[in-house]
Point group: C2
């Protein structure tokens, strides 16, 4: 297969989405859920697109889709299947398709939220592809090979070409072997057009946006000409083998240069492999990746860049670099076209990273002149309070309880995890992921359990399980041994309750500290944006009931999913968005909670659950 | 010895030069000839500073100099030694010295020429050193390490720092290990300050200027703070092992990537070694080299850069690159500070290189609104005709005869080479380099011989040796076997004469073609600049007498030495000079002689020697 054949549009299908009237071109292999997202139509996908919740139903009006999956056969009724309904997360277009999205499948708030953002993105990428069709030299035209390219650039209004020697060598070879035709990709900057890639004429040019988390790396392969996402995918961060938490990885990296660089190459190789697999499916090549944007927390940012992390592990927790970085993909070891640059937006502080900046960028539409809160809950929870131009940011050590760690029967959100309970006749009834027999409790499950237990009166506001004696019971049984998936009791212990108290007190204490500095009362918060996986999946009511979130009207809450990833994609498609990210950082006042006097009293107060 | 001790000013001496009233600081090990040159005082050194001609006498007024060398004991009389006279090329300052330069030692024309240039050079190097003395982080000052550097740059009026990851890593390490003190060297460009080096505070920063010839590489280590040349030195171009001529090296390089890259690394390693030796003498290190300018002919330029040369070996002889290049020293393999950039000025054409552009730059002071000729004679002779803003340039294939090749008794300019002859009573008397017994004839010797033979009537204007028969003699004996250094006759053959006829016809034919295009008669040439080793050493009268040079008044000729090297140094010290070089190239009209109709008739006509 020749390089040109690889790029034929045969693998790209048009998807028309009604009644929204949106159209998008997607690569074969993209499911309808992602296609709809690219078109700015947000479909409900409560289970995050794993095919079990049945919330993402869409109706095929015309065209061909991939065959029904076992998930769909499980989830859809015979009548629904007969009526042409499919699960958007399971079905992939095999031709030009037209879909009808039922109102109940539209995530109204999310739709409003991101539709605007995705629509308003002006295509202004940092790189530009030019198809050259040059004349070769003759005795009448003795210009140097590269001068021919350069003159063409100037003709088209771009500055002079700048390239490495290897690139100059390759450009001369390619032009001479390709009869003076080629597609070049340049990155025009002040005073020079940097050569990024030399490709066969009309090759697609790809961008890679990444949100590198401590646990997972979310990636997007984007067509930089159309702006469409060709592939959205994720892999585990392979560094997890050296510690689930960042502190363990920092101490490993501190052992020496070899260990630090090992953590870097582990991560980079993991990304390279995952990208290579997706490219293979698309029939494309890493040499077509011509721009990269990567966001992550500050430590991950430093690991990815191979920078020293020692100083991140001890007070005053200062990063080596906090400004935006433009570095060579080659220096990092990321497989891409030879001149590809990786853009890393600025970090705010040692524990508030570029991923938070990216989330701030993607959430801008929510903020107005009033007060908005952006919260990303994790082992460290980053919080920003945005009031017009003013931004206050902090990080609080909320611990791993919401990831199921330090909780006796805690587990990750996986099949069989209790994610919701209800009390009937004073007895708890549990609901699990995939309705599998219960084997543990996930983060959102424990938060919901505590909220329900508070409501049911089996837990008091001090965190004491109401029981036989004044000291409280040692544990509350959710599932007895006979009904569990592993034959053991599933309980919430007093210690579990305390862990959650500590976590939610840190989070709410952080928010209140920022609010106190800015003089913002709870009622004045006009928008509360919960970003990130946990923030998106938890039950807002439970978070309010347990006092982790302020008690404000539910419509002010927005669960926006991977806002950091969306921001990364925006920066990949628009230089203006990069400048906005750099502008955001200049407006941020970072609040170091450990030296802010207000924090401790708020933290102590918030250990209690709210009055009913 | 610590890094700081290495840089102590103990090795630098002040040299005051009277009556010129010039002052210069030079490193120990610099001879007075070079010191005077740096101060803009050109002292005659007919033997190019090898200590044999005695023309560079200077008088020590005060201070200490290195001991008398055997060369000086040979060349100076006892009275001269007693009177404090020394040979500038042999003596080196050991303390602050004051010199008096006798009028007869001043090369008046050269002095006028380069003095102006060297004096007028405004120190405006592309790199700047900043000594940092920063505050470390605290809970009250959580700025990132690099932000501290960046803020300091902005305070001092420079744009934001840009660096590779390795440099960011090293900068953080150096600052933290060096108590937040360091000298950083930056290259400010549009929109960013590129990090070049991080050095101990107050380290000297060095620049390297190179004129890479096919045979020899001339190099200058320059102190970029003072502008003084610390070392001027040369090595053979090690590529010579793969062919004395460029065409042989091109065909070797064309065998494959390995051969091409072998020629590159040979050259670069040769340079690295030679520089390392000089740095050792200076007590300095390659990490202090923060800027490099390299000039050379187009093929050498491509070899140095590892670019393809195939297309230089066949019509239409087009280079891969002709514009100015700014490339990483690291990519080329040149030992220098990690962020060092190599500046390569533009090439004019396949056979008129950046060395000629550099010579044009250094010779600018000679040119006015009238017509000036710049000529650099070699196997290829580059010629430019400069008329105000207009520049016509060409290259002519003059062959290696002037390097002693293809001449029966030809040799390089070395001891025992005949470099001048005279006729006494109709018999030739020869003069040799170092007055050693004659063993051959060097290039300037053969030109002078032909001129004298024409004058003596033993050679006619067709190039026929006047002898027994109408066909002419086969050879003319300069030295008989009994008087030569090797016991064999030294002769000039008819074929030798023809070789010179071909060479000088090509050169003069090229000049006349340019003059014809521009409508410039010989008499209108107001300045004739002979650059390069051969042009500097040959006898102008002989060149006129043989018709290689136009017959214009002798004061219009200027033998300027290594103008390409001087131009390279100027570009090292001044960004404005680089822009001038790039401006020069835009004004050049390249004339390809092989397709210019005028050339052949001129060439044929110039095969004859002029009428007496």
């Amino acid at each position: 297969m020749s390089a040109t054949e690889k790029m034929t549009p045969l693998h790209i299908h048009q998807v028309d989405i009604e009644p929204a009237g949106k159209r998008v071109m997607v690569a074969e292999g993209t499911n309808l859920l992602d296609a709809a997202r690219q078109a700015g139509v947000e479909i409900v996908a409560s289970c995050s697109g794993i095919g079990i919740c049945g919330t993402c139903k869409v109706k095929l009006v015309s065209g061909r889709l991939s065959p029904l999956t076992p998930m769909e056969e499980d989830t859809l009724t015979k009548e629904e299947i007969a009526g042409g309904l499919r699960l958007a997360c399971q079905a992939e277009p095999l031709s030009h398709v037209r879909l009808d999205v039922p109102q109940e499948s539209l995530l109204h708030t999310q739709k409003m939220q991101f539709e605007g953002l995705e629509q308003s993105r002006s295509m202004d990428p940092a790189v530009i592809a030019l198809d050259l069709n040059l004349q070769g030299p003759s005795m009448k035209d003795l210009r140097a090979d590269i001068t021919r390219v350069d003159d063409e650039l100037l003709n088209r209004g771009y500055p002079h070409l700048r390239a490495s020697l290897q690139q100059l060598h390759d450009t001369s070879k390619s032009l001479r072997e390709g009869n003076w035709q080629a597609r070049i990709v340049i990155r025009p900057e002040e005073g020079a057009s940097y050569l990024v890639a030399i490709l066969p004429s009309h090759s697609a040019m790809l961008g890679l946006a990444m949100d590198i988390g401590s646990t997972k790396v979310a990636m997007y392969l984007v067509d930089l000409t159309t702006g469409g996402t060709l592939k959205a995918f994720a892999v585990m961060n392979p560094q997890i083998a050296y510690g689930e938490d960042i502190i363990s990885r920092i101490s490993y990296a501190n052992r020496g240069d070899a260990e630090r660089l090992q953590l870097q190459s582990l991560l980079v190789n993991g990304i390279n492999q995952a990208v290579a697999e997706q490219l293979r499916v698309l029939g494309m090549d890493a040499s077509q990746i011509v721009d990269v944007v990567a966001v992550g927390n500050t430590a991950i940012h430093h690991f990815f860049c191979g920078l020293p992390v020692e100083q991140l592990g001890r007070a005053p927790y200062v990063p080596v670099v906090s400004h935006a970085l433009r570095i060579s993909a080659n220096e990092i070891g990321l497989r891409a076209a030879p001149g590809t640059q990786v853009y890393l937006p600025p970090n705010i502080a040692g524990y508030v990273g570029a991923d938070h900046v990216s989330a701030l960028l993607a959430s801008q539409a929510y903020f107005d002149q009033k007060a908005g809160l952006l919260v990303d809950i994790g082992t460290n929870t980053e919080i920003s309070l945005v009031m017009g131009q003013r931004i206050l940011s902090c990080s609080c050590a909320s611990g791993p309880a919401f990831e199921g760690a330090h909780i006796q029967d805690g587990m990750r959100a996986a099949p069989g995890a209790i994610d919701r309970i209800s009390f009937y006749d004073g007895k708890p009834v549990v609901f699990t992921i995939e309705e599998k027999p219960p084997v543990g409790i996930c983060g959102s499950g424990i938060l919901n359990s505590l909220a329900e237990m508070l409501k049911a009166g089996v837990l008091d506001r001090r965190g004491i399980l109401i029981g036989q004696n004044s000291a409280g019971k040692a544990s509350f049984t959710l599932v007895n041994a006979a009904h569990s998936g592993h034959g053991r009791e599933i309980v919430i212990t007093r210690k579990d309750v305390n862990e959650i108290q500590l976590a939610k007190a840190a989070i709410r204490g952080g928010m209140r500290t920022l609010q106190d500095i800015a003089g913002v009362a709870d009622g004045e918060i006009s928008a509360f944006i919960a970003a990130g996986a946990f923030g998106t999946h938890l039950d807002t009511g439970s978070a309010i009931r347990t006092g982790m979130y302020p008690d404000i009207p539910e419509e002010r809450f927005h669960q926006v999913g991977n806002a950091a990833g969306v921001g990364a994609k925006q920066m990949l498609l628009s230089r203006a968005k990069r400048l906005e990210a750099e502008e955001i950082i200049r407006r941020v006042e970072y609040v170091e909670l450990t030296v802010t006097p207000q924090f401790t009293p708020f933290y102590t107060e918030e250990m209690f659950f709210p009055e009913t």
